[in-house]
Amino acid sequence: MAVVAESQFHVLAVDDSLMDRKLIERLLKTSSFQVTAVDSGSRALQVLGLSEDLTSSPAVYPAHNEIEVNLVITDYCMPGMTGYDLLKKIKGSSSLRDIPVVIMSSENVPSRINRCLEGGAEEFFLKPVQLSDMKRLRPHILKGKSKEQQLQQEEEEEEETSISSNKRKAMDEELSPERRRLRLSNNNSLI
């Protein structure tokens, strides 16, 4: 029985400035995230398994980029594909749209911020990004993950109807408190 391990979350950081990439990478690693840092939107799409020209699901392509990304944090002002363009591409992809996206910018422009939030960005960080900003990332990742977990839970519930209640009790005790809570809430909804 698979227990949901507290594994490291993987963040894809996108910024055309080497200096800013170095900074965001360090901020993320210090906050216990696994990091991949790229210098452009098109490279980010490659990592995510999306070609720039097509928006079909990664399953269509060979398993070259099977890296799971839990969150994308991108600079707004980049040559070529801006952070906003990248956001739209991610949110427009059926396979990637649930990945939370955070936009960073050194300019505090309300219309820009609103545009990004309306475009599906979870948050907007003002640069220079601080260590304290990193705390705001985990909730967005967990929100997406719990949606994923609930779907998984429901699938597993159906499989387990054949198992005896004693065995189920033993398994419950092995599960992490979080998992148990989800299971309980699901049980309630089934009644």
């Binding site: 400035s17 080497l18 200096m19 800013d20 170095k22 900074l23 360090r26 901020l27 210090t30 050194s106 300019e107 640069k127 220079p128 601080q130 260590l131």
Partner: protein
Amino acid sequence: MELGSLQRRYIDFTSALFREGFLDNQYTQLQQLQDESNPEFVLEVVTLFFEDSEKLLNELSRTLDQQVVDFKKVDAHVHQLKGSSASIGAQRVKNVCMAFRNCCEERNQEGCLRWLQQVRQEYFLVKSKLETLFRLEKQILAAGGSVPVLCFLWPTHVETLSV
């Protein structure tokens, strides 16, 4: 020079940098990101800042030297310089950049040239200060000591965390 006085000199020098506004809290943030696994982090980032800035300053010179000045380009460069100086806490450089951008908006070539001179001055000033800082750190480490970490809680309050 013996370790104790090197460390005192370092503390005095660093405090002055903050007090005189050359550096702000963002620099402290960088220091907090440095540890045994990344012992040269601040130096690496600041080195990138030096490289970026000098490239930008040269570009600014070139762009402002044209018969017909592309103010959008000038503004873009200054914006970049403002961003990177803010990232390392080079407060005075950042502030001059903000004023510089206003001149760009006014499309004032004369004014921009003056601001370029100012920003260049501030940049080279903070560069030499930071180089001195790194030199002192090196000397302290070579003498077998550890570099004092200064913690700034209020603008005027300086507390030494560890020596």
